[in-house]
């Protein structure tokens, strides 16, 4: 077979539906034998947060940010029809009916398929997120880490 192709996705958004799209594409590309990287930056980092009570040492501002942002994949809001939390509940019911995988399962599937999950360290600093708050077995990097993968990517997406 020819040289392995690469798919690179920048997940900037912290919306449940957008993150779902990103992870569906990533898992599909992995099935195509692509080397896949999802680069999480800004609000996209929230998809990687653990839904646990952790108390890393933080400044006051960082604590505030931590409280205001959703904790983990299943707590992300929808980009449309949020309706104070009713929207996500409804869509998750519909998803169950249609056997669509919820986001947290899509993320586990991605890790199982050896997709690289990269967290942007600069925006982690801005938002006050610490490594211990994010999922295990992910990688950390900056713009150069993304460009290194992205410069010869067959597919490059910004979501």
């Amino acid at each position: 077979m020819s040289e392995q192709k690469k798919t690179n996705i920048i997940l900037f958004s912290g919306d449940y539906d957008r993150a779902m799209a990103a992870y569906i594409i990533a898992n599909g590309a992995a099935a195509y034998d692509h080397k896949v990287t999802i680069f999480h930056t800004f609000w996209g980092l929230n998809a990687l947060r653990k839904d646990e009570k952790l108390r890393p040492s933080k400044t006051f501002m960082e604590k505030m940010f931590g409280k205001m942002m959703p904790k983990g994949a299943e707590n992300l809001p929808l980009s449309k029809m949020q309706y104070a939390g009713m929207g996500p509940k409804m869509i998750k019911n519909v998803m169950k009916k249609h056997n669509a995988m919820p986001l947290d399962d899509l993320i586990s599937m991605a890790q199982e398929q050896e997709i690289t999950l990269l967290a942007c360290t600069m925006t982690m600093d801005l938002l006050g997120l610490k490594e211990e708050e994010l999922l295990d077995d992910i990688e950390y990097g900056g713009v150069a880490a993304y460009i290194a993968e992205g410069e010869d990517g067959a597919i490059n997406l910004f979501i």
């Binding site: 569906i24 599909g28 034998d33 056997n99």
Partner: protein, 75 residues
């Protein structure tokens, strides 16, 4: 046709049929045939595109009452 392995992907939604197919094809030898049964309406174009670009061959595809059956020969 000699079927080596059958994958039941009925009821699974995108992207699972293709993810499971990829896993299943990794478990058979070149030249062997994998049977995939799916109900996802997108499966037909997905399976066709996937076999084309991953070096396998789609020997046959049929649909009956919303159930799609594919025979993929590993390349």
């Amino acid at each position: 046709m000699n079927i080596t392995k059958t994958l039941d992907a009925k009821g699974l939604a995108c992207p699972m049929p293709i993810v499971r197919t990829k896993k299943a094809i990794d478990e058979v030898n070149p030249g062997e045939v994998l049977e995939v049964v799916a109900t996802d309406a997108g499966a037909k174009s997905d399976l066709t595109a996937w076999t084309n670009s991953s070096g396998h061959e789609l020997l046959e595809a049929k649909e009956e009452d919303g159930v799609y059956t594919f025979y993929v020969q590993k390349g």
